[in-house]
Each structure stands twice: as structure tokens, then as C-alpha cells.
């Protein structure tokens, strides 16, 4: 019943949405790469992670992508000796977020590429629809 090209547009849109949420998480991680606690020994910002899952739409008979959940990465925090810091513990160590900027930048690039790929799918499907409608015009 559903036009496969129209469904393609919707699937592409779900991909765009998923990747934009991924960008949001990356930006949170990057922005908070230096966010410490402000009481002695307090935990700093914990890195956020995002995971995707496929969702089958019965009506359209197609698998869309959606965000499965935004979780926390509980790998150990970096520790730095800085006795003057408000978050320094009794020995003078400050816990820093477990965010690796390089990993985040790589993740950002991947989100960008994936977004581009989904945009390309939408562009192509639109072009195919337009070409077909144009048959009516010239004929």
C-alpha cells in the first residue's frame, strides 16, 4: 500500500533524527570534558553514551532506526594532583571526567558521515519521485 519511495524518505528522516541525537550526546561530552565536582572528593561529569536499535513499523513494513537509550560510561575517572582545587580530596587529587576528546571527535565525525549518508538517501529518493512525476509533464 505504501509507496516504497515515500517510506524511504521517512526512514531517511529517522536516520537524521538518530544521528542528530548522537551529535547532542557528543557535544555534551565535549563541553563537559573538564567539568569536575565542586565539593572535596566529588565525582566529576560521567561520559554519556548513546545506542541505536531498529524498530519495525508494521504498517509500512520497514525497519526504522531509533535511539535505544542514553547511558553512562562507568570507566574510571582520570585523576590529577591539584591540591588547590575545590574538588580535591584529602590527598590533593581531583577526579576529572572519563571523557577522551579524541574518541568524542571520532564519534562526531562518524555521526556527520552517517547524517550525510541519510541525507543522500533522501535526496536520491526525492529525485526519483520527481523524475516520475515529470513523466506526466513532458508526455
Amino acid at each position: 500500500m505504501f509507496d516504497p519511495l515515500q517510506v524511504t524518505l521517512k526512514i531517511g528522516a529517522s536516520g537524521l533524527e538518530a544521528q542528530s541525537k548522537r551529535m547532542r550526546v557528543v557535544s555534551e561530552n565535549l563541553a563537559n570534558a573538564q567539568s569536575t565536582g565542586h565539593t572535596p572528593g566529588a565525582d566529576p561529569y560521567t561520559r554519556k553514551t548513546i545506542s541505536f536499535e531498529s524498530e519495525f513499523d508494521e504498517a509500512m513494513g520497514a525497519s526504522f532506526v531509533k535511539v535505544a537509550g542514553i547511558g553512562r560510561n562507568h570507566s574510571p575517572y582520570r585523576v590529577e594532583y591539584s591540591p588547590g582545587h575545590p574538588a580535591a580530596d584529602a590527598k590533593g587529587f581531583v577526579k576529572l571526567p572519563n571523557v577522551d576528546v579524541l574518541v568524542e571527535v571520532a564519534d562526531m565525525r562518524e555521526a556527520n558521515r552517517s547524517y550525510e549518508a541519510n541525507l543522500q538517501v533522501i535526496k536520491q529518493a526525492r529525485e526519483m519521485i520527481s523524475m516520475t512525476i515529470d513523466l506526466l509533464r513532458s508526455g
Binding site: 524518505l9 528522516a13 537524521l16 519521485i129 512525476i133 506526466l136
Partner: protein
């Protein structure tokens, strides 16, 4: 056939200019909707109301986007879908009108 096409006389306000060659080529494609549907007028008006509905939806979502309630992707998707509905409605209208003109010029 002719009395089926007759109700079209009212909706056609501004017949498009088409060359005779276009009319000849367009005849085969547009004859079938008339044979299936109740009449041409009803078909045209449902076509128009579909297009208007799509444009209205796009306007609503665009406004929500300006307010910040809808994402860029949603706005673009709705506007593009409205544009496409409108384009196909216009293409079908042109075809139907050219078929009508062709029949009206027929010498009996």
C-alpha cells in the same frame, strides 16, 4: 464519455495553453481516470483538497519549527512532502485539462 467530462466545465477557469502535439500525446494517459472515477469534477476537487491538506500540515509544522517545537528535519520533511503533493496535483491537472481541451475541439 462526454457527459462524464461535462462537470469539468465549471472548475476549468483558465485552460492552459498546449500545443496540438501535446494534446495528441496526452490523450491516452488521461482517459483512464475518467473511466474509473465517478466524475472529473470530483476527482479534481479531491486532488485539490489533498494538496491543500498537505500544504496546511507543512505550514503548521513550519510554525512549530519557528517556535522551536519541531526539529529542522521534521520541518523539511513536511515542506518537501507538501511540495511534492502539489507538484503531482498540478501535473495531473494539466493532463486532465489538456485531455478536456482535446475532446472539446473534436469535430463531430
Amino acid at each position: 464519455m462526454i457527459d462524464r467530462i461535462n462537470p469539468l466545465a465549471a472548475p476549468v477557469a483558465s485552460p492552459v495553453e498546449t500545443s496540438p502535439a501535446d494534446l495528441v500525446r496526452g490523450a491516452g494517459a488521461t482517459a483512464s481516470p475518467a473511466a474509473e472515477g465517478a466524475d472529473f469534477g470530483a476527482m479534481l476537487s479531491s486532488l485539490a483538497s489533498d494538496a491543500i491538506g498537505a500544504v496546511k500540515k507543512a505550514e503548521t509544522i513550519s510554525l512549530a519549527g519557528v517556535r522551536g517545537d519541531a526539529s529542522v528535519q521534521q520541518v523539511v520533511e513536511a515542506v518537501m512532502s507538501a511540495e511534492q503533493t502539489l507538484q503531482s496535483a498540478i501535473a495531473i491537472r494539466d493532463k486532465v485539462v489538456s485531455a478536456y481541451l482535446e475532446i472539446s475541439r473534436m469535430s463531430i
